[in-house]
Assembly symmetry: C2
Homo-oligomer: 215 residues x 2
DNA sequence: TTGCAAAATGAACCGCGTGTCATTATTATA
DNA sequence: TATAATAATGACACGCGGTTCATTTTGCAA
């Protein structure tokens, strides 16, 4: 007794999930994590109240799924950026430039919701585990990138590459926080990123003078 | 027709407020901002449900009052620290050392609640104003401190002191965030603070070699 | 001791978000 | 066209935190 009627069940199911995650991204970007409700997401996705529970049980589940999706997309983008240049230092310059460009619209992305999600949830067992995983992955990837520069002879670091990665990561998160707090202008975020790049140049001991980032 | 009965109204009123704020500090340190409820605070303060509204209307009001109280206490402590030494650089060293010592217990203080309060509330008009005021004040004070070192001839900065203050502030907030995320060990927070001190030494162009912070 | 106003209480109400479930709509097959 | 399984709906009940307010308790003065 196979189904007597259903025409869609396989690809459509995935389609639905995508629909939910895309709606969720818009909602979380607009309202942040805590203030967003299942109702908001349901309405944004043009679904009905109960239907969404067939796919995701809680807001948290949706958020985590959305994060994974965005992480994958991000990984692709980073790899493309890496393909544009053979020099690790040049890649860092490009990355920082991109970071500066994104500052202005930071508050309209899901990034604030990310910070909110973890900062309000670090007492929660599940989230702490997730947070630790994400931290380790990002530090591992950044360390690997820096180390590849060392191996290629581009850098002569004065500090372990893992430490340098940690410093860069915390500085960037701090700058982001201050941008959210008072805006990119008042926090002088662009200047801070330029300073960070110069600082990284020192810590890494870049062999050749950094190409000026004028463009 | 003066009161026919009240024996306490003036100092006791202030006493009550203190009682509430101290209870609130314990609650916010234990649970963070959002998860804490008026009920928690009322119970911690050994008051009854409705009574607290005679003093504070909302949780937010209590939190802000508590912040102001802690800020005042903090200002006193910083001034004391400044009195211990005539050198601005030495003061920075002491401050960083103190910061390192506080890392271990960071998650048991109200500091996480501070971050939470602002990170979840930066879309709110009132909080944004408060946040901007606090940001400006802290940057102003730190800039003034650094500038006093310049004026005394201790420093020959390569960057505006205001910029250096902003960099230090965002780096410290970033380190704090990562400590809350994965702990002081995994984020190598102590090493990061040492590196920040050295970085500040470079940016400020300290005239004499920094005294090693061994003690 | 009595009266009265202020202090203090906590039951009850309100608004809101969540999650369920009885009901309705859709669609492919017989 | 009939029918049955599945897709989809949205009204409703529940829990929770915030807030109010009628009531009780307290303590001083008359």
């Amino acid at each position: 007794m196979k189904s007597v009627s259903p025409k869609v069940s396989d690809e459509h199911k995935e389609q639905r999930r995508l629909q939910i995650l895309e709606a969720a991204e818009r909602v979380f970007a607009r309202k942040g994590y805590e203030p967003a409700t299942m109702k908001d997401i349901v309405e944004e996705a043009a679904m009905s109240r109960g239907w969404i529970y067939l796919y995701y049980q809680t807001k948290e589940e949706i958020f985590v799924a959305m994060m994974e999706k965005l992480d994958q997309e991000n990984a692709v983008r980073i790899r493309q950026l890496g393909d544009q240049t053979g020099s690790v230092w040049k890649l860092l310059e490009l990355w920082m430039e991109e970071g500066k460009r994104e500052l202005a619209s930071l508050s309209e992305t899901v990034i604030p919701a990310f910070y909110e999600f973890f900062l309000t949830g670090w007492r929660n067992e599940r989230r702490q585990e997730l947070l630790r995983l994400r931290y380790r992955r990002s530090i591992r990837e950044l360390t690997a990138l820096l180390q590849s520069g060392v191996d290629k002879g581009e850098f002569r670091p004065t500090l372990e590459t893992g430490q340098i990665a940690r410093i860069a990561a915390s500085q960037i998160d701090g700058i982001h926080m201050h941008v959210l707090a008072v805006g990119a202008e008042e926090s002088a975020a662009a200047v801070q990123i330029d300073a960070l790049l110069a600082y990284l140049g020192t810590l890494l001991g870049v062999s050749r003078p950094a190409s000026s980032s004028s463009h």
